[in-house]
Amino acid sequence: MAKTLAEKIWQEHIVRTAAGEPDLIYIDLHLIHEVTSAQAFDGLRLAGRKVRRPDLTIATEDHNTPTQNIDKPIADPVSKLQIDTLRNNCAEFGLRIHSLGDIDQGIVHVVGPQLGLTQPGMTIVCGDSHTSTHGAFGALAFGIGTSQVEHVLATQTLPLDPPKTMAINVEGTLQPGVSAKDIILAIIAQIGTGGGQGYVLEYRGSAIRALSMEGRMTVCNMSIEAGARAGLIAPDQTTFDYIRGRAHAPEDFDAALAYWSTLQSDTDAKFDVEITIDAETLAPFVTWGTNPAQGLPLTGAVPDPSLIADAEERGAAERALEYMDLKAGTPLKKIAIDTVFLGSCTNGRIEDLRTAATILNGKKISSSLRMLVVPGSARVRLQAEAEGLDKVFIEAGAEWRNAGCSMCLGMNPDQLAPGERSASTSNRNFEGRQGKGGRTHLVSPLVAAATAIRGTLSSPADL
């Protein structure tokens, strides 16, 4: 029978299947960070259990880590305790960890691909919802909770129900100034925060094929924002070229390549749902509300809730405008920004920094705002410095920081003050996500850079 890519990977990982029970699925790679693992290790200790496959497990520190003065002890004692707990757990259970200061430290979803550990056809999990990022390589990758982290540590498997599949075909060529981030923001605005629920979203079509691995990771990263279980892109030459030469690329690369080349949905495979998006019609996108589906093309205006027919949605829009302190009808480009954040597992990779640097090169950011540039990993930072990007950012007036989740979420010192408004390349605009009372507009790196120069939400075309 014809199968989708998700179904193929699923079947290859079934350890046991029994009527009326979830399938037991083998996990090829388990990524760990400090926030969602402490209680799982505690559980193991209490039950006297070991980590079944330390050689399929890797840890890094990202959510709590400061992005300045990283050579000093972590100032916040609670953050320090959480990180020390991870370090101790890794030592006790024999796990590899990349700690602050290590060249391979960084956001967990940047570190896996960069080491070459993320490969096509794998199952990958992490106690973090943006694990969907790794789907860009044709791996089935999903976020799990702490109970499941413990389960994977103990058994290297998870009992799971098979997902449904949705094909999202993005056909055509993107206009200049439109990027992967705009594709995914537009998809989420179209299908809603629950639209992908229960599905693996397989992104296909010529516009997806044309994306770099970084762009594909951006798209897959935000699948969870549409409620999806995972995002997936079939591997191709772009994927293979990215993996070749990385530390954990297969030694017998040709053999791996032969297998990877089979990893596609069959041409006659049936998806439960299929939608098509015309890439030519996409424009730079920005969110105006407090969930990632509340977004519009940058040329639009803040919507008028009274014109929304659905009562639920209307109520949500009213609340969002109140929280965001926005008036219906205001052109999005008139919205003044206090902080621009370039970084996160969505847009903190080398290509994202390069893109933003092209716009900022030789220019100054507006005196009305601050800009934080935070590489996704220590290696990205080093590479950017080797290419001189740090100088571009610093000369433009931005702050050049060390790797971590930073202002993507309010767990480390980089936070918005109450009422402060950001244009952020991260993935969530929830109330208080970037700091209590902070207001977030999600944007692409191109829009972030143009906004930094003009002071109000802008695209490079406005410069």
């Binding site: 505690d42 305790l81 707990t85 103990a154 058994t155 925060t193 629950g194 409620g227 969530r428």
Partner: protein, 198 residues
Amino acid sequence: MEKFITHTGTGVPLRRSNVDTDQIIPALWLKLVTRTGYEDGLFGAWRKDPEFVLNKDEYKKGTILIAGLDFGTGSSREHAVWALQNYGFRVVISPRFADIFRGNSLKAGLLTVILPQEQVEALWAAVEANPNLEITVSLENRSVSYDGVSVGFELDDYTRWRLMEGLDDIGLTLKQTESIDEYEMKRSPLKPATLPAR
């Protein structure tokens, strides 16, 4: 894990959709390394508003949270489930839950019940008319009953059995160790390993 067979309590109407896990438990609370102590962080930002439903005297004893569409979206933090449990909730009812949240809740023994939007609206109205209304959620019958009304809900047999027995998933899987060993013998040697570090 505590067994869940049936629970009778009062409801708390949370008339909001898209309640993400950042709202259920704000990031600052994620720094704890325990599974308890999250009750004060539950809906942390909203709790400061005296009008917020959890702050109203009549709903202080509620154990069944009745929420709008897409409850638990966003971050995978299981702390959201622990916060609801630490506070005293045994059941959350919504027309639709985010997958990861629902998975987490059913692992940790917090029953998440999916009811159609109309039923949720009816429950909101009933609880707002009478905050002391007794609601019984029976996993045995897969039903929610109050005020002479009884509505059924779906939950697969396996999860229901596991919750009613209070069984730990890991213990169940460890019984399958032989199958896991067998799978590992057949596993492709091309797959990467994290150790030794290269």
